[in-house]
């Protein structure tokens, strides 16, 4: 039985959020972590994002032996080794290139790239936009900490206008990259943004991105209080998390059209610029590995019988 508009009379059952599972059980299922603490600075948002990615694996219901991650250089680059999945620790900025090749060779795998903002948008910008254009079924997770953290806090393409970094001590003169807008412009099917200060929301965004058929991009606002925060009056991890809580808007409908997708602008007198969290873009498009399989079948049909055998 169905309603006049074609919708089924009974809604499909909502997936239950497994919020009550203790961390050590999840670690046993999905992660392979050392006895001592991680390689990040104390209080770093990467540990929180890593926790959210593990919970997203659990929520999306993926088989961890069928997951492969790719990444380049940066603070985040140890993260892939902390999961039970396979990991390619490649050259700087080439995560999307490795993921594209891997997905084409083994389409049954769930392929993620874990990349930082400098890695993905500065050095690997070309790989990123062309992976988005092809709409290949990979999930790109970008950890945006507003600077190059691994090398000592130089400014990156995502450094907000007016903020101080190691190499822009009087204030950043360039406007920042909006990674989500870039992904939408390049043709990504699923674009979402979240922060580490909203852990449940972040988990949901990453799980939705993993389940999405096609190119999915999640921008994770992840604080670097040691390098960026210290120079901008937020020396503790909690200061930066309050900054994210105060400057983010969870519902798109509460923001007027002209202010949407705004990147944060940080200055002494103006701290009230909002950025929008949530799914910013969703569009179904033909997926690249399927199109490529069709092309291959067409080419194989044209071959003479001698060559086929």
């Amino acid at each position: 039985m169905s309603l006049p508009n074609g919708m089924p009379a009974t809604r499909p059952a909502k997936k239950k959020l497994d919020l009550q599972r203790p961390l050590d059980e999840l670690v046993e299922m999905y992660a392979d972590i050392p006895d001592k603490s991680f390689r990040y600075c104390p209080g770093c948002g990467l540990g929180m994002a890593q926790s959210a990615i593990m919970r997203a694996f659990h929520r999306a219901g993926v088989d961890i032996t069928k997951v492969a991650t790719a990444g380049g250089s940066g603070c985040y680059s140890v993260m892939g080794h902390y999961f039970k999945s396979s990991h390619i620790h490649g050259s700087h900025g080439r995560g999307c290139a490795y993921a594209t090749g891997l997905k084409l060779a083994r389409p049954e795998l769930t392929v993620l790239t874990l990349q930082g903002d400098g890695d993905l948008l500065a050095i690997g910008g070309n790989h990123f936009i062309h992976a988005a254009r092809r709409n290949i079924d990979i999930t790109v997770i970008c950890f945006n900490n507003y600077n190059f953290g691994d090398t000592g806090g130089q400014f990156a393409p995502t450094t907000p206008l007016g903020s101080k970094t190691d190499t822009s001590s009087l204030g950043m003169p360039e406007p920042a990259f909006d990674a989500c807008k870039l992904a939408i412009g390049a043709g990504a099917g699923f674009v979402a943004r979240s922060t580490v200060a909203h852990p449940a929301h972040l988990t949901k965004m990453i799980a939705d991105a993993i389940e999405w058929k096609g190119f999915a991009f999640v921008e994770v606002m992840q604080h670097c209080h040691v390098l960026w925060g210290r120079r901008n009056g937020m020396p503790e991890a909690m200061d930066m998390m309050r900054f994210y809580k105060d400057n983010s808007v969870l519902h798109l409908s509460t923001v007027p059209e002209e202010e949407r997708f705004d990147i944060p602008v940080y200055s002494e007198d103006e701290k009230d610029v909002k950025f929008v969290l949530g799914v910013l873009h969703r569009e179904k498009k033909p997926e690249y590995t399927e199109e490529y399989a069709k092309l291959r079948a067409k080419a194989m049909a044209k071959l003479p019988a001698k060559v086929k055998s």
């Binding site: 972590i33 104390p42 209080g43 926790s51 909690m238």
Partner: protein, 78 residues
């Protein structure tokens, strides 16, 4: 009809904790606190825990595990 009181058990790993202050700052009922001189996180008031699990979700070093303790209703009343 008496309500079953839910209680939680919080386990903090001292080797993993690096005193970043996130857990006791996010804890609204002030269950967690710190201990000098290294300022590692400790459990101060376990009875006040509401089981929101924000500390477990946000701990950057995965040092905190929150487990629900299932109590019989008669036990909870006493």
């Amino acid at each position: 009809m008496a309500k079953t009181k839910r209680s939680f058990d919080i386990e903090i790993s001292e080797t993993r904790c690096r005193s970043c202050a996130v857990c006791w700052e996010v804890c609204a009922p002030k269950v967690l606190s710190w201990k000098p001189p290294l300022n590692k996180a400790i459990v101060k008031d376990l009875a006040a825990c509401t089981g929101c699990r924000l500390c477990e979700w946000l701990c950057p070093d995965w040092a905190i595990v929150v487990r629900p303790v299932v109590l019989e209703s008669s036990e909870a009343l006493t």
